[in-house]
């Protein structure tokens, strides 16, 4: 659906996007991740044909964004960051304008508009002025606009920016629903979002693409952060040393002690689940263990590590 090769954007004295290449297949939900100012919006603006690239090419559904921009734009439903809308229009009026602009005619307009209103649950506010809408509704109107001509590809730039937690959740549900019919590229800096809805993650930092994996792969890649949490009670003072002796244990730290219960964090080699060995040792030594938990690393850790290691 999207095919990007060596796409670059240079501004005077600095390059905002540097030689990135990736592709997105039909039906995928791809998260586009990166810190603020990493070049996410610039890349998206190039994909949507709003700004031309300095070099490199991008194709949307086989159409080049620069030389066949009208055909490429026809395939994209785009919702820019902060959802700019005309405040002096009513919701229905705005959607009608956008539908006509995107080449819909006659009955199709009415049908598609009703579907979009239904899908984004904004039927009740269709006669309101856009200026009177709350942030959440504005977002939905923006999404309805992106959906109105049923484009095969949706590009959403930070769609949950500024929404409250319950709105974020319902927005997420909506995206999942949309994923059945559309390919979605969604840019964000909220990791939990990506983890929950995306099939694949592209990580961009300082204009360079530094990751292209599934969220799961990405976390698995993180060797350093696999830990076992342990709550233990014993009169034995050598717990720390004893556990350290188990092969595969890299480091044991005593986090805190409360009423005799010791909270310990055991770092182990990547994916090396040593819970059995610890329990085994515990039963031999008569330790009381009330919790033992193997913690998979989160995407957040992977992300932070990747972004930081690149910039250092």
């Amino acid at each position: 659906m999207i095919k990007v090769s060596n796409l670059s954007k240079k501004y005077v004295g600095k390059s905002a996007v540097d030689q990135i290449s990736f592709s997105v297949d039909q039906g995928e939900i791809v998260g586009f991740l990166g810190p603020n100012g990493a070049g996410k919006t610039t890349t998206i603006r190039m994909l949507t044909g709003y700004i031309p690239p300095t070099s490199g090419t991008a194709k949307i559904g086989g159409h080049d964004i620069f030389s066949e921009s009208l055909l490429a734009k026809q395939k994209i439903g785009y919702m820019p960051e902060n959802v700019p809308l005309y405040d002096d229009m009513r919701v229905r009026e705005y959607l009608l304008f956008r539908a006509e602009l995107k080449g819909l005619r006659g009955q199709e307009i009415k049908k598609n508009m009703n579907e979009a209103l239904e899908l984004c649950s904004i039927k009740t506010i269709k006669s309101q002025m856009i200026s009177s809408l709350s942030k959440g509704f504005r977002q939905r109107v923006g999404l309805a606009d992106a959906l109105i001509n049923k484009p095969p590809l949706l590009i959403l730039d930070e769609p949950t920016n500024g929404l409250d937690p319950s709105q974020i959740r319902s927005f997420r549900e909506l995206i999942k629903e949309l994923a059945e019919k559309h390919t979605i590229l969604i840019s964000t800096h909220i990791l939990s979002e990506v983890e929950l809805i995306c099939d694949r993650v592209l990580i961009i930092n300082e204009g360079k693409l530094i990751g292209n994996n599934t969220p799961h792969e990405l976390s698995e890649k993180m060797r350093s952060s696999t830990t076992i949490n342990l709550e233990i009670k014993s009169h034995d003072n050598n717990i720390k040393e004893d556990i350290s002796k188990i092969s595969g244990v890299k480091k044991v730290t005593l986090e805190k002690e409360e009423n005799g219960w010791k909270f310990m964090r055991i770092r182990v080699d990547y994916g090396n689940d040593l819970r059995e060995e610890i329990m085994h040792l515990g039963s031999k030594r008569d330790w009381l263990i009330r919790e033992i938990h193997f913690q998979r690393s989160k995407l957040e850790d992977a992300y932070i590590e990747m972004v930081q290691s690149k910039s250092n």
Partner: protein
């Protein structure tokens, strides 16, 4: 006519008719035009401007009638009406006010992004905005024609100054065509509507009065004569006397085309820069 005049005429038709026909045939252009006209008409500014223009036209018309009634002089009603101060007062304010929001507002609130990422051409957007203002401008002057029609209907002196009236409205239309393109340009240059309006106002004012201003300044004779030729106030005089001068037609129409072309380039350039 000489051969060169024919060539100029053909060129003139080419640069004015081609974009207009192209625009009328483009579907998206007409859709944006409709939307722009709507947002002009739904805004209070439009109605303030319409009432201001009607009011000041009424003043200048009445004043002209009064002068003709008191004095026995050889001047036309049209001539007096369109050279009065209150008439030109309106003229200066119209262009900045109706054009300032065109692109500046879209850039400011970011809707230019949704507009240009829809399957539309930049040139359609530009022409739609330009023509929407021009249409509004034409609507703005319609009530003032009624003044003359009413007078003629009641005095039975039908069509005595029809040439002069035609000339006056031709120059008004011509100035509209030209100055709205200036407004488009200044609005495309900035995100700030006030800056756009002031730049447009300054330009219109200077262009209108440059001949007058230079008369009292120590500039070379050649410059003075050259700039006197482009200064609007002289053109108006010629047209009000009922003469539609082809030199002015060429001047305004060709410059309008050039300025719209520059505006188009600026819009494209902002995309490269943004």
């Amino acid at each position: 006519m000489e051969r060169s005049q024919y060539i100029i005429l053909i060129l003139l038709i080419f640069i004015t008719v081609t974009p207009t026909v192209y625009f009328l045939l483009s579907r998206t252009g007409v859709i944006i035009l409709k939307k722009e006209l709507k947002s002009i008409i739904y805004s209070p500014i439009a109605w303030i401007i319409i009432s201001l223009v009607m009011l000041l036209n009424g003043f200048s018309f009445t004043a002209a009638l009064e002068i003709l009634r008191k004095n026995d002089i050889d001047e036309t009603l049209v001539g007096y009406t369109f050279s009065s101060t209150s008439f030109w007062l309106t003229y200066f304010f119209i262009f900045p006010v109706i054009t300032m929001r065109l692109f500046a507002e879209e850039h400011k609130i970011g809707t230019i992004e949704t507009l240009l990422t829809a399957p539309v051409k930049t040139i359609d957007v530009l022409l739609a905005k330009y023509f929407s203002c021009l249409l509004f401008y034409i609507i703005l002057w319609i009530p003032s024609v009624l003044n003359f029609i009413l007078l003629w209907l009641s005095s039975k002196e039908n069509g005595s100054a029809i040439g002069s009236l035609g000339g006056a409205y031709s120059i008004i239309l011509l100035l509209g065509i030209f100055n709205i393109s200036i407004g488009c340009l200044t609005s495309a240059l900035t995100k700030n509507q006030l800056v756009a309006a002031m730049a447009c106002f300054t330009f219109c004012m200077l262009h209108f009065l440059i001949g007058f201003i230079l008369q009292d300044l120590p500039v070379p004779e050649l410059w003075r004569n050259g700039l006197f030729y482009v200064s609007t106030v002289n053109h108006v005089e010629v047209f009000i006397n009922g003469l539609i001068d082809s030199r002015q037609l060429v001047y305004y129409l060709s410059f309008t085309a050039l300025i719209l072309l520059i505006t188009y380039k600026i819009l494209e350039f902002r995309k490269w820069k943004a």
